[in-house]
Symmetry: C2
Subunit: 498 residues, 2 copies
């Protein structure tokens, strides 16, 4: 190990510590900050961002990265750390300052325009903003693609999914896109053949929902010496591995949305918390990327918590908490409610079976927009056509169509595919865990999540960014991403009703 490598570790530790500070301030902004604090907070975050950028783009960093790999024996973790350092450095240095500034300004203006245009159902009002964002994003993709040696779209994807490439996603999504329309029709048929689930009568007091959420978080392994649950408008998992902050929001008419949301964020939190202590504040010690991150939340929410064994464990807790009883509160009825399928317009409200169709639509559209094969003017029409093809329904207006998500308007291009890559990864990981742990359903049924968490710690969390995403999955499950496992899961749950 060279002095250059050691010095790089020190630099990146400082870089990460400042990033951690920013992460805590982001959490505070959403969960604690009074509205009047937003101006000062923006100044604080901008200053921290600039310091981080300065550390990565300093000439010494380039020199150290060049020197650190030369003829020295780094162990596997150190070599992977250097690989991730280089990746962060390429992303930071690929763009000149003027482009970065233009992005910040243009995205901020576009996001503001979108916030007004969405409720007003006024795509025309935000169209010039979106065009401006797209122009810059294509420039960013071009510049980063040249440095990374990949296509512009891949370079954008690489920010959220390091090493991710459209050539890997295309066959997987094409396969799924061919499967979904028929599958959704069959799932709805199968659902219609069964009696409708019974309603749950509220209201469900916020304090009780919170107690229940804490109880389930604890059961799953969330460590409250190293984290908190708070309230925010948009639930998220924030903070840092040693101090994970998750949030939720409450609806007194519907507790299951809150709880499933908390369980989803708990999946993210367990991943962060399980990252290797020895590599804290080093690039290799960070989460592997957005698809693996989403796989951890969806493994907990979709694979575990909407399944029968979990709901057999949880049903008595629900009944006791809300002082309710009767057939509506049986595990079976709760399960029926948790896996209800419906064609709908809004992605964030979609169920497990239809969600991938929403994502594939967005992935295809953003690729076409970046490639120049689709114009912003043609986006609303292309959106509605795609919805018709993939989901069999077209939204009656743009508010429920191409205006619904913040991502593109805010400059987040290349993010969407990670949701469904994550869902498929979750299915494959849970399948492997179930094979490795034959007693898993019984353990879940009695509320013992230690075997599952142990497996995840070993196979996923503890490996952090040691391996590239594909290799991580191969080592954990015996093969790279296989959409067949996800499809088999959907068949079992929604058609065979196992």
């Amino acid at each position: 190990m060279t002095a250059a490598y050691r010095e790089l570790e020190a630099r990146f530790a400082r870089h990460a510590a400042i990033g951690e500070a920013a992460s805590m301030l982001h959490w505070d902004m959403s969960a604690m900050m009074p509205t009047g604090g937003s101006g000062a907070r923006a100044e604080q975050l901008a200053a921290l961002k600039r310091v981080c950028h300065d550390i990565l783009t300093a000439p010494e960093t380039a020199d150290l990265i060049a020197a650190a790999g030369e003829g020295t024996a780094l162990d596997a973790w150190q070599a992977a750390n250097l690989r991730e350092m280089r990746r962060a450095w390429v992303h930071a240095t690929a763009l000149d300052g003027a482009l970065v500034e233009a992005m910040v300004r243009t995205c901020a203006a576009s996001e503001m325009a979108w916030r007004a245009a969405r409720p007003a159902n006024d795509f025309a009002a935000v169209k010039p903003h979106l065009e401006a964002v797209l122009r810059l994003v294509r420039e960013v993709g071009q510049a980063k693609g040249e440095r990374l040696g990949c296509l512009p779209y891949d370079a954008l994807l690489d920010e959220y999914e390091p090493g991710g490439r459209a050539a890997r996603i295309d066959p997987v999504f094409d396969d799924l896109a061919a499967f979904l329309p028929g599958f959704i029709a069959r799932a709805l048929e199968s659902q219609a053949a069964r009696p409708a689930p019974l309603p749950l009568d509220g209201p469900f007091p916020v304090a009780t929902q919170r107690e229940l959420a804490l109880r389930l978080m604890r059961a799953l392994g969330f460590d409250f010496d190293h984290g908190r649950l708070d309230t925010s408008l948009h639930p998220f998992c924030g903070g840092v591995p040693d101090d994970v902050r998750i949030t939720t929001r409450y609806d007194e008419a519907d507790f299951s949305r809150t709880l499933m949301g908390v369980l989803h964020e708990t999946g993210h939190a367990l991943y962060e918390r399980g990252l290797p202590v020895a590599w804290r504040r080093q690039p290799v010690g960070s989460a592997r990327g957005m698809s693996v991150h989403e796989s951890q939340s969806l493994l907990v929410e979709m694979q575990v918590c909407r399944g029968r064994p979990f709901l057999e464990f949880a049903a008595p807790l629900f009944r006791a908490a809300f002082g309710q009883d009767g057939p509506a509160w049986s595990a079976e009825n709760l399960h029926r409610r948790a896996i209800r399928v419906a064609r709908s317009f809004i992605r964030v409200d979609a169920d497990e079976a239809t969600y991938p169709a929403h994502v594939i639509l967005r992935y295809r559209l953003e690729r076409a927009l970046i490639a120049g094969d689709l114009t912003v003017a043609d986006l609303p029409g292309a959106w509605n056509d795609g919805m018709k093809t993939l989901l069999g329904v077209a939204p009656p207006d743009d508010r429920r169509g191409c205006l619904q998500d913040i991502h593109w308007y805010d400059g987040a291009w290349g993010y969407f595919p990670t949701y469904t890559m994550g869902a498929m990864t979750a299915a494959q990981l849970f399948d492997a865990a179930a094979r490795a742990l034959p007693e898993l359903p019984a353990a879940i049924r009695r509320g013992d999540f230690a075997p599952l968490l142990g497996w995840l710690r070993r196979e996923v969390h503890g490996r952090a960014s040691l391996l590239e995403t594909d290799d991580l999955l191969t080592v954990a499950t015996g093969r790279p991403l296989d959409p067949g496992v996800f499809k088999a899961h959907l068949e079992r749950r929604y058609i065979s009703d196992i």
Copy 2:
């Protein structure tokens, strides 16, 4: 205005924004953070501190400071800003890196030893640590004194009280030290001649105390769009001017301690919030120093809220909140309780009349220790002698003597005098406000604090660090600090019973 000056403003804005980030993280650490987050938080804060230090000590900063003042017309605020920039820069550059690091390490070890030694009443255990701290603090005072052109003690004081000098404090404290022993005896006599105040029967639910605290904060002018009230072990005022975070702790057996604590922190908060918006994140836009800061908390708590007019406003609120009534809940009885005097060993529990004696003792001892006229070995004896002289009681052990305060063990030397300078400043400011606003007692009696807040905004808050402390007081009250005003206040409240 030169380009150099403008560039300095940009640098200091960045410096301040990062300092603000650290301030928010300090608040979170005390009010929100789970225990397991402390290691990561220490890394975050250390990284921010280093960035701030690097900005101040960069060679460009020195060049800009030298260039900014040259033959250019700065207006009064800009000139004061440059003066405060230079002050911050001198403090940052006076010490070499090795001394700064030794201070951090030695103080951390000493604080840890003190945390164990205090409950164990074991001064011997912490003595070598305190000696090590003192050695370094004397070095720091020496180095900074050379740069500032003042004595080592003054240089230490200057960190908390910019421009503060022992030569200004000595006559003031000597005057007070001569006055206090006789005054305390007379106050106790006068108190004994009156019937003892009636007890208030609790318990007082935490939720009710909190509601009451919020009600009083609102009345005083605390803006909840720009601040919060939370809970922490040691109450404090933190955050930033646009997002002020104050904390308290609750005791179900005694609500008045909580409320008076909240009102004290509210005084600090109103000061921060009233700093001039045009000078946010610039040195001249910051609070003037610790004695002026303490004057704002003590003006609210001691001058206003322990006085009869305020308690006539508050008594009905207390009765309604706790559903109580009867003579114990009269404004007069609440006032009697709020101004109770007792000789005691512990500074933080001391009343308004005896508190200055505690402070003068510490001031004299720390000056002697820094000057080399007193050794750490002789500290316990000197402490007890001083208590006897100033307060007429000597503590039965070091736990209630020289082990009680964290300050010296943690490296905060030169801080103590600001408490009592603040108390005297508060008396003088409130006296001036009362002269300027003849209707003030009537306004307070009906819960209208706008006239007082308006006066403070104009005369103190809005001036930030434009003037040096003495000049600020002279402009606001017509003369520099005059201990006579504080003594007259004590006479009126504790002897004449007005």
